[in-house]
Amino acid sequence: MSEQQFYHALKVDKDKCFGCTHCMNVCPTDAIRIRDGVASIRKNWCVDCGECMKACPVDAFYVEQDDFEKIFNFKYRVAILPSVFIGQFSKSIKECEIIDILKGLGFTHVVPAEATVDVINESMLEELESDREKPMISAFCPSIVRLIQVRFPGLVNNIIPIKPPIDSTALYYRQLLLEEGKDFDDIGIFYVTPCASKIATVKSPVGDDSSNVDGVINMDFLYNKVFHVLNNRSESADNCDYTVPYLSPKGLNWSLTDGEASHMKGRCLAIDEIHNVISFLEKVENDEIINVDFLELRACDQSCAGGVLLTENRFLTVERIKNRADRINASGKYVQNISAAHKQTIKDKSDVGKIEPRSMMVLDEDMGMALKKMERVRRMMCYLPGIDCGACGAPSCESLAKDIVRKEAHLSNCVFLQRMMEKTKKLDPQHSIRIIEKSWGKDRLDKDCKKKGAKNDSF
């Protein structure tokens, strides 16, 4: 299992990255090391939370997306649009205006990603009655599912194995178009993603092996396109009208914090931001949290409104979505219109399959070997300075020690131990420089006035 590689949409642009350790220090799973002067991500450790991308001072991280032109390979081009996209626009811009612009850009259909939340919610409530271990945890946020797999393997059985609405919505709309007599190969379904982890699930779902989505477009890319059209249109263009509201109030709020928890039964808690989630899961694992039925856990602060690919401020986005939801609620216009047969199809295909634990914490599969390795780590910790400076290319002294027992680093990677070795003539100063260059790249310590914060900084 640990040998398997997982698709990650987060990539490092090696030309932009200058190896500053910001990403390495914020990574909640210790998945980043600096090698040859640039950040490298350990694929099996990464949970796609995007913290590295948020922390990067030079935008060296990017989220790989499909070429927008790919949509024109299909006759029917469906955009699956999360509500947070709409939430970025001020209330003076109507939903139908945004949809019209998206259609102008080439989509034939624009459908809300949360269109199927009522069905998903029903399935989740049914599952809550099952004898699964409590607290049950939503599978909504793919980063959280991956986090549990790698760091809390004992809690995988608490996850409710029901797909988030995006997958079901893609399935449902493809079904609708097929029923209209459209050819399967003519239908292209594109997901507009607010984050890196959603892409990763679309490209390699956790349990299930296939995806209903043909391509992924980054939300910031599309936001810029829509914003550009809005800014350059003539005054009279604003003449679209609502027939039915674009989305239910529940659907609009679903991806925000408390969007799910407020529609579940029993004692429900909603926790956002990955470090908050980690400290809470530690307690769940120790059985310190009792009598909680349901946990909504999201990797980003303010949930999807804080997604790494959103352009607008997350607090404004939350406020705007809530206001839109309130207005639709007050109008009483929204009607749920998924037929009973479609509901059944959605429910039948909403199971994510088996979510396997794949702990990235084990030092060795063999317990005897693991014990020996841990003893070595503890011995090395007697010598390492405990400063956690990151100058060895690992996030802390302890992670360096663990890298050493995994044969991925050497004690001499520590700059302080280098000095001690030089002092006792165990290490030649020239060799010491070569070691540093291996972590930080050649000529890294030479004068460079173009680096961030320096005299000729151009960032």
Partner: protein, 138 residues
Amino acid sequence: MEFNYEVEGGNFTKAGNAASNVKKVLKQLNVDPKIIKRIVVALYEGEVNVVAHAYKGNVLVDIDTDRIYIKIQDEGPGIPDIDLAMQVGYSTASAMVREMGFGAGMGLPNMKRNADTIDITSKVGEGTIVELTTKLTS
């Protein structure tokens, strides 16, 4: 491999530190999560007992490939009647401790249920020693 943790009487914010650390260690040693959970729950209860009842205490953990041995030793009031203390629901916790959500009389019974073996020795007015042993493989 030995680990040592100090436990401060009366400080509930730090109760569970030893349990969290031991959990981290056992995860790295590839111990079955179900076994880890039993060990951590028992140790956490033990820590809470020291914090709730004693003045100070010490947790010694010894791990080898087949078992974990945990010795929780405290300086405190001691337990006058161990059989009574082992009964579910029996508690001598103060009103303040109960207000904090502890003191339900589940501590020792929970430890007994989660460990393979439990040994308790206590001297009134001096302190208590609880020893827990659990196999690391099922």
